[in-house]
């Protein structure tokens, strides 16, 4: 997702106001990690919200502080002493017979209790296992979402680097008679001689066919490689071209041909 669009969507504000869904929350955390500008915006919203809260202070009663500190001190003591005292459950009795009966009763009692506990444990264990599986699959989904975003982000960065390079010459290629609405742009770097193609619109090639880019120079067409079309391909790197006066795209058999044979779809001069 485009970070600017995301910032303007109001989602970060809902995040700060604590009323977005768990999915939206994960998304906000993801966006914050991936895009520094989203992180900055979020921190700035949080800061203004903090000031808002600070401006609406109400002093709690003075006695509350010592009460709270007492509770905390007690909690600490419990943590340190670590659990309950051990109380002996059986003391030797004067009457040995009663002692034995008591012992048997206690043993039977313990058996019932332990069966009950182990049953409970097994139920709980199954629940936990299910929960772990669910969390793992959730975590994988989040990871995938994050990887996708990261990929898109890296692609965008790469494209931006190509497009914004000062040595890069954009050569728009307009559609010819066979497909007038087609459009593709070559970015040719005068210095490194690298060639990139960004397809805005070309018809999907039929089975067994592929588009091929040609550099035009002194009436000759030099092979600059084949490329794919589709939503997910983005900007594609082509062969190095030393010099060119223009570029053109033809439809050729899959894998390309040494000399252009097929019909020309788009053409542009430098």
């Amino acid at each position: 997702m485009d970070p600017k669009e995301y910032i303007e969507s109001g989602m970060l504000e809902s995040y700060v106001l604590g009323n977005c869904t768990p999915d939206e929350m994960q998304e906000a955390e993801c966006m914050k990690r991936v895009f520094p500008e989203v992180r900055r915006e979020l921190l700035s919203i949080q800061a203004s919200f903090e000031s808002y809260v600070m401006a609406n202070k109400v002093q709690p009663p003075a006695a509350l502080k010592s009460k709270i500190f007492e509770v905390i001190a007690n909690e600490e003591k419990q943590v340190k002493s670590g659990g309950a005292k051990v109380i002996p459950i059986y003391e030797s009795s004067k009457n040995k017979n009663t002692g034995l009966k008591l012992l048997i009763a206690a043993a039977f009692g313990l058996l019932v209790i332990s069966a009950y506990i182990s049953y409970n444990f097994s139920v709980r264990n199954n629940q936990l296992n299910e929960h772990v599986a669910e969390l793992t699959s959730q975590q994988e989904a989040v990871q995938k979402h994050f990887d996708d975003l990261n990929n898109k982000f890296e692609n965008t960065q790469k494209q931006f680097a190509v497009v914004s390079n000062p040595n890069s010459v954009p050569v728009p290629m307009k559609g010819l008679k066979i497909s007038p609405s087609s459009l593709a742009t070559v970015f040719w770097n005068k210095q490194s001689k690298e060639v990139y193609i960004a397809v805005s619109s070309l018809p999907k090639p039929p089975e067994g066919k592929q588009y091929q880019l040609w550099a035009l120079k002194d009436g000759q067409a030099i092979d600059a490689g084949v490329f794919d079309v589709g939503d997910s391909v983005g900007i594609q790197k082509m062969k190095i071209i030393e010099n060119a006066q223009g570029f053109a795209v033809t439809l050729e058999k899959k894998g390309g041909v040494p000399k252009a044979e097929g019909e020309m779809y788009v053409l542009g001069n430098i």
């Binding site: 969507s9 504000e13 604590g18 009323n19 203004s48 202070k57 709270i68 905390i72 909690e75």
Partner: protein, 178 residues
């Protein structure tokens, strides 16, 4: 004891070591801000609000080791704990008595009259100048714990508008404060 000034970094590190004095400093500096939030969530119900403040501070104390500075400020972290504790309390109360939106709006209005003890003029005066359509979004979302869908239903407003209003509200807030 003379007031001590910690940097946030020092304060966090001392708190993680469960330093009582640092915690006392934390209480002195933030309890009134947090109490203000709780009172608004719980519609100025003082006794319950004090219980919630206590519960929140105990949670803050216990969970200090989980606080991660890279994720946000200490104050925002404490606010989240406190607000969530207050909203949980509000929901447990609501389960008993369901309120209508009119009651909520009325409660919100009542707050205006229940002036806080501090910053009578200052920022607070200005903050209450928030446009009513912005203020109600903040009140329902943050202090009322309503989801976007619920707000959209209650205010009879498309979901998209709820989101853009939330953004506009916080932008207005930012302008007033800076």
């Amino acid at each position: 004891m003379p007031p001590k000034n910690y940097t946030e970094e020092e304060l966090v590190s001392l708190l993680k070591q469960k330093d009582q004095q640092a915690f006392s400093y934390l209480y002195d500096n933030y309890s009134s801000a947090l109490y203000g939030v709780i009172l608004r969530v719980l519609k100025q119900e003082e006794e319950t609000s004090q219980d919630v403040l206590q519960e929140s501070f105990v949670k803050i104390w216990k969970n200090m080791e989980h606080y991660d500075r890279s994720k946000g400020t200490l104050f925002t972290w404490m606010l989240n704990i406190t607000r969530n504790t207050a909203i949980d309390k509000l929901r447990s109360i609501k389960r008993v008595s369901i309120q209508s939106i009119d009651d909520n709006v009325y409660a919100v209005d009542k707050e205006h009259n229940h002036a806080s003890t501090e910053d009578k003029i200052g920022v607070k005066g200005v903050v209450n100048n928030l446009k009513p359509e912005h203020k109600i979004i903040i009140d329902l979302a943050y202090f009322g714990g309503y989801t976007q869908e619920e707000i959209s239903e209650k205010l009879n407003m498309p979901l998209g508008t709820v989101k853009t209003r939330a953004r506009a509200a916080l932008i207005e807030l930012r302008k007033i404060i800076t």
